[in-house]
């Protein structure tokens, strides 16, 4: 094992680490912003309302993330009108394409998690809101959403880890994230084991960090479910 190539390239790995974290955080924020309305619509009863959000969820959960990313990164150029529109500055950048693909993908998974949590809201909670004279919007804001977020938390933690792992695909389309950095180090020094294992260790640390963060949030949000300490 030759770890000199790794130590001399540590700044590259750290740069990659920053890119990975940035991509994942941005994708999660954008994804959540999309997932809340989509999840809410998908949890309605009317088939007319749920058709579009459910198709969105079905498509993005049923196809590989790499294909979605290729569709946006390589596929966008197929459309003349897109190339001439002002949006082209986004679609010609690998970074923006990866971010769009990741956001849409995590939005679909998160929306499905939220949908499950929303339809599982105990009806008594909603009735209690009505009985207190709350309007539909107020019930949504004060009861349905907070209660569903609590129920969705463990599954969402898993989704965040999946997004972190999925983000490694950015390295395939020339972005220097952790995986991209490892690929560069491997091609420069031909140290496949060392370079990719180093990236793997960074991902492992990030994964454990996410697990720890979600344990903390669960501790706070599920305070009412904690056994009472005497």
């Amino acid at each position: 094992m030759d770890f000199e190539a790794i130590t001399s390239n540590l700044p590259l790995y750290l740069e990659g680490l920053a890119t990975t974290v940035e991509l994942v955080v941005l994708a999660l924020i954008l994804g959540m912003a999309l997932a809340i309305p989509i999840g809410l619509l998908a949890s309605r009863k009317s088939v007319w309302v749920t058709f579009l959000p459910k198709s969105f969820i079905y498509f993005f959960r049923g196809t590989p993330l790499i294909v979605q990313m290729y569709m946006i990164y390589f596929g966008a150029g197929q459309f003349e009108w897109l190339r001439e529109s002002f949006l082209w500055f986004l679609f010609k950048e690998a970074y923006a394409c990866a971010l769009i693909a990741f956001s849409l993908n995590t939005a679909a998974y998160t929306a499905e998690i939220l949908r499950g949590a929303i339809i599982a809201t105990p009806y008594g909670e909603i009735e209690a809101g009505r009985a207190s004279g709350m309007s539909g919007w107020l019930i949504l804001r004060r009861i349905i959403l907070p209660s569903s977020f609590r129920r969705a938390l463990p599954a969402y933690g898993n989704e965040v880890i999946f997004m972190l792992h999925g983000s490694a695909l950015a390295g395939v389309i020339t972005i220097i994230d952790l995986f991209g950095a490892a690929r560069i180090v491997n091609s420069r020094h031909f140290v496949p084991f060392e370079s990719f294992i180093t990236a793997g260790v960074f991902y492992l640390i990030l994964t454990f960090a996410i697990i720890w963060i979600f344990k903390r949030i669960e501790f706070r949000w599920h305070a009412h479910l904690r056994p009472r300490n005497s």
């Binding site: 498509f59 294909v67 569709m71 995986f179 084991f193 990719f196 994964t207």
Partner: protein
């Protein structure tokens, strides 16, 4: 059949749909099914090791499932594909063997099987724990050996509990096979890139491939529902 398909699909996507893309789909399915078998074997071994009283077996299985589930699959694939090639030849060299080349297909099957073995191990562990203790004790009371108990009682009884997790793992596995296109295996994603490039219609071809993945998912769903029905015989549902 072949001629008939070539003829009838010749106008579709510039003639690229059959055989070019659909052959790639066949490779995707082959890869997925072979990896699945590999993953099932590793998963069962992992689950049994995790539940055994042997501390070192427990430790190794715990390390395996934690490490694999903590690292992105594409990173693992590169470690096994590039690193494995190197490792096999270092070992081969010391044994005085000629250069051994690992095909992309083998590397793909091994990697995906290895990754999903870890997820399967967790699924099976939970399922085995869900088998009522009394049923296993009854087996021992009849004088069965531990292996007989596993084959005759624990395994058939845990299948029902393992099926939902197994189904999820299979669906994720089928989608993960798309990553092999990055290491140069000609699956349907790889072929979509080629065909889309030559016709200058990348979006169309990726969309078609996405649709083919949805077909795989939909067919799997039907199969899984059938299995669930079969293995839940005698279970009453509200």
């Amino acid at each position: 059949m072949h001629e008939f398909l070539v003829e009838s699909l010749s106008g579709v996507l510039g003639g690229y749909l059959y055989p070019f893309i659909l052959e790639g789909m066949l490779l995707t399915i082959e890869l997925a099914i072979l990896s699945l078998f590999f993953a099932l074997v590793l998963g069962l071994l992992g689950a049994v090791a995790k539940l055994s009283n042997n501390r070192s077996a427990k430790f190794v299985a715990g390390l395996y499932t934690t490490l694999i589930r903590g690292v992105p699959d594409i990173v693992l694939m590169f470690i096994i594909f590039f690193g494995g090639q190197l490792a096999v030849n270092i070992i081969g060299d010391s044994l005085g063997l000629d250069y051994i080349e690992i095909s992309e297909f083998t590397a793909g099957v091994v990697t995906i099987g290895f990754i999903f073995g870890a997820y399967m191990a967790e699924t099976f562990r939970g399922a085995i724990l869900a088998v009522p203790r009394g049923e296993i004790e009854a087996g021992y009371a009849y004088g069965m050996t531990p292996i007989q108990v596993f084959i005759r009682i624990t395994f058939p009884a845990c299948v029902r509990h393992a099926l939902p997790g197994f189904g999820n793992n299979w669906l994720v596995l089928a989608k993960t096979t798309a990553l092999v296109s990055v290491i140069g295996l000609e699956d349907m994603v790889f072929r979509a890139t080629q065909a889309g490039g030559s016709l200058r219609q990348p979006f169309t071809f990726y969309l078609v491939v996405a649709g083919l993945y949805l077909v795989i998912t939909a067919v799997s769903d039907v199969g899984l529902r059938w299995l669930d029905k079969r293995y839940s015989v005698g279970v009453r549902r509200a």
